[in-house]
Amino acid sequence: MKNLETIKKLLPNWVRDEGIDDEVVLSSRLRLARNLKEIPFPHKANEEQLQKVYEKVELALEQQTDFGELEMIKFEEISPLERLALMEEHLCSPQFIESPQNRYLVTNEGKFFSLMINEEDHLRIQTIMSGLAVDRALELANKLDNYLEQSLDYCFDENYGYLTTCPTNAGTGIRASVMLHLPGLTMVDQVKRVLSALSHLGINVRGLYGEGTESFGDLYQISNQVTLGRSEEELTMNLMSISRQVIEQERAVREALLRESRNKLEDRLCRAFGILTQARLISAQEAMKLFSDVKLGVELGIISGVSRVKLKELMFLSRSALLQRIFDRELTPNEREYYRAELIRKELQS
């Protein structure tokens, strides 16, 4: 595990940052979908045209100094494992790593933003922050967007706004999301009720890595559904205020659990901690489930000696590709379970 400290430093900065309401909110993310004028959308473009998209974006960023040092990654040139690690860090989508041809990823040093080039749209500007900070995520995305627009001609229509490959993104091209940790609501079987109510308010619930992915460890991602006919500010403010209401509900349930069945709750959370500190083999899914309980224990002061930051780091490091990055080689599924357990034990006991 000699790589551990180095790999930790490479994790996105927001993982270690404090944030508003971060006992419930893990992160806030935002993306803007943009296409360039006079070039067909990626699925209709040929290789030459896709290359041109990249060259234009590269040129647009050549002189920039506002966003620190950037890394440009040609997706075909890195290993499948490295691609997966980038997805696990939420810098690109699962769709993006499926077919790496003609795709590029631009990230900055602290990894709080990324540009996906030639995903479903020519350009996807993404920002990510700790805690409930959709407004700040929008601010940064707008700054990047405005900078790029100084030299890129976007596909824009007066009526339909920014034109996107899928009509569900047309208009603002915005998708703002909040990653919520809802172990309390899940425990009392209320999470479905609360989340399904959100769909009436124009809010979608998605899995850990976005559309069509699964939900693990009581983590739920909620995001705006509508992109046309409302301004970016309206959409993000709406998501923020709805998130605040869910956060309040989660807090109320946590308090009620402490009040009404403290012993049961303590037992469950401490048992989870016991397994994590003793297990010799552990799958990614089981680890996420137990992290959820331990995180709740830490937030409620039931489990001490483990910091929130350490848990957040572990939630990332124990994902498959990042784990293999630490051990610097490809691991078989069995080896992964073994090394994951070793990593977690070492980190939680240190």
Binding site: N35, K37, E38, I39, P40, F41, H43, K44, L84, E120, N142, D145, N146, E149, Q150, D153, Y154, C155, F156, D157, E158, N159, Y160, G161, Y162, L163, T164, T165, C166, P167, T168, A170, G171, T172, I174, V191, K192, E211, G212, E214, S215, F216, V226, T227, L228, G229, R230, S231, E232, S283, A284, Q285, S320, A321, P333, R336
Partner: protein
């Protein structure tokens, strides 16, 4: 094979999950599969995608009146309206104006609106930005008149005229 959950009905839903090459198999009856949804971390109707939904919406009553007898084709990228109906995605910016008749009811259905009110590109937005500004000045003017603030109204009227010169 019997359902692994209830051990009563025949298993008709067979799930093989491969996550980062870690494979798990599950055999359930339809009822248990639906029921087990959230617990297992998957949604039973997960084939239900936006693309299918759009194709469904376009195939229904929405497109019927506008359906042209001759296939409409985008002159820039070559996408046909049937292509769009099948895949739910457009081929280029030009598609939006080419397929406007079929697309607008769909956009309305998805977003409840067909008019963008958000951000406009700063550099290339030029006249659109000015028109938006005039719109908002007109609203202010209307309000000033309602409040009988005629001095302010006169100022706003002059400003609107000035901006209109720029168009």
């Amino acid at each position: 094979m019997l359902c692994q959950r209830c051990n009563e009905k025949a298993a008709t839903v067979h799930l093989t999950k491969i996550i980062n090459s870690e494979k798990t198999e599950l055999h359930l009856c339809e009822l248990c599969a639906k029921d087990a949804g959230s617990e297992l971390g998957f949604i039973f109707e997960s084939n239900f995608s936006f693309q299918n939904l759009i194709a469904g919406l376009l195939g229904g009553e929405l497109s019927a009146p506008q359906e042209p007898s001759v296939e409409v084709k985008c002159s820039q990228c070559g996408l046909t309206f049937s292509d769009f109906k099948n895949a739910g995605i457009l081929g280029c910016g030009e598609c939006y104006s080419r397929f406007q008749a079929g697309l607008e009811p769909l956009l309305n259905k998805i977003h409840g609106s067909v008019r963008h009110v958000g951000k406009v590109p700063q550099r290339t937005g030029g006249k659109i930005l000015i028109r938006k500004e005039i719109d908002s000045l007109r609203r202010e003017l209307q309000q000033a008149i309602t409040l009988e603030n005629y001095e302010k109204a006169a100022e706003l009227r002059d400003e609107i005229r000035e901006r209109e010169q720029e168009l």
